[in-house]
Symmetry: C2
Subunit: 182 residues, 2 copies
């Protein structure tokens, strides 16, 4: 089963596709769609939509998972994010794929075991879970992979979607993780 | 010159196309795209995008005008509106059309002559300006026509976009307009 995660943003949209056998997960592709700085807002939306449509056609996933936000710093930034998220969801439904939505807390709980984990903890767990040699860059790509992992962890073996649970005791121990000072 | 106005919304998206000779305007088409109540949110976005793409192909306007919102009652409703607005802008840019954006106050000022005019005043002026026998229904369609009229009023004869100004003294007098009690 293949899951395509999307972390939408009008400036940069992260994406990551993972393949899972149920117990083992492997990264297929990950990256970020950088919108041209000098483009108009509608051109940026076109870039996000076109690139995602091509990527979904290449990866042919079984499902798309996307971050769901209820809170934003202000209505203006929420409106802007909504545009990017709208065209990303449109690319998925145009490809005939279902869209699963998860809140940031659900994603953190599913990946790290703790809903208030920080970005660094999430990225390190993505690296561990997918057996990568380094954290995927840019961070939007790692976030998109985390969303895909969250979807895998919320699917029962029969295919039913379960409420997101902490992964395991080991994962829960990330609650106490503190990154080393560099 | 043809202008296609869009008043986006995830529940109902108003649209209206007007044709102008410079001094006289005529309504080409108007209506609203009602999204299926039981559809998923991504299916609603698909409905809006597909219908708008068909309408733009039928009308072949020279430009698309859309309402621009900076303020919303809360971040959640702004996020939802952003999705609908995003797929509407995408339909326009995919049709090779430029997208002009106007705030509600600019639209009211251009159509009624007063930035704090109420919905009823805007609808009555749309009816008057386009020489219609009745206010276009539903109100989202009238709002979309108002956006298109606003764009016409902000274009100089040479085609350059001017800052939106009150139309005339007659239009400004709408400031004092009070609808008759029914």
């Amino acid at each position: 089963m293949k899951i395509f995660g999307i972390d939408p943003g009008s400036y940069r949209t992260g994406y990551g596709c993972i393949e899972t056998t149920g117990s083992r997960h492997r990264m297929v592709i990950s990256g970020a769609i950088q919108t041209p700085a000098l483009a108009t807002f509608s051109e940026k939306l076109l870039t996000i939509h076109t690139r995602l449509a091509v990527l979904l056609d290449q990866c042919r996933p079984d499902c798309v998972a996307i971050e769901n936000l209820f809170h934003a710093s202000n209505a203006r930034s929420a409106l802007k994010l909504g545009h990017a998220r709208g065209v990303a969801m449109l690319a998925a439904i145009e490809a005939g794929l279902e869209v699963a939505e998860y809140t940031p807390a659900e994603i953190k709980r599913a990946v790290v075991g703790y809903g208030r984990a920080d970005k660094h903890q999430v990225q390190q767990m993505v690296k561990l879970i997918l057996g990568l040699t380094a954290v995927p860059a840019p961070h939007d790509a790692a976030d998109a992979l985390a969303i895909a992992i969250c979807h895998v962890h919320s699917i029962a073996p029969g295919g039913a979607v379960l409420p997101v649970q902490p992964r395991s005791k080991a994962a829960t121990s990330w609650r106490h993780y503190r990154p080393a000072r560099s």
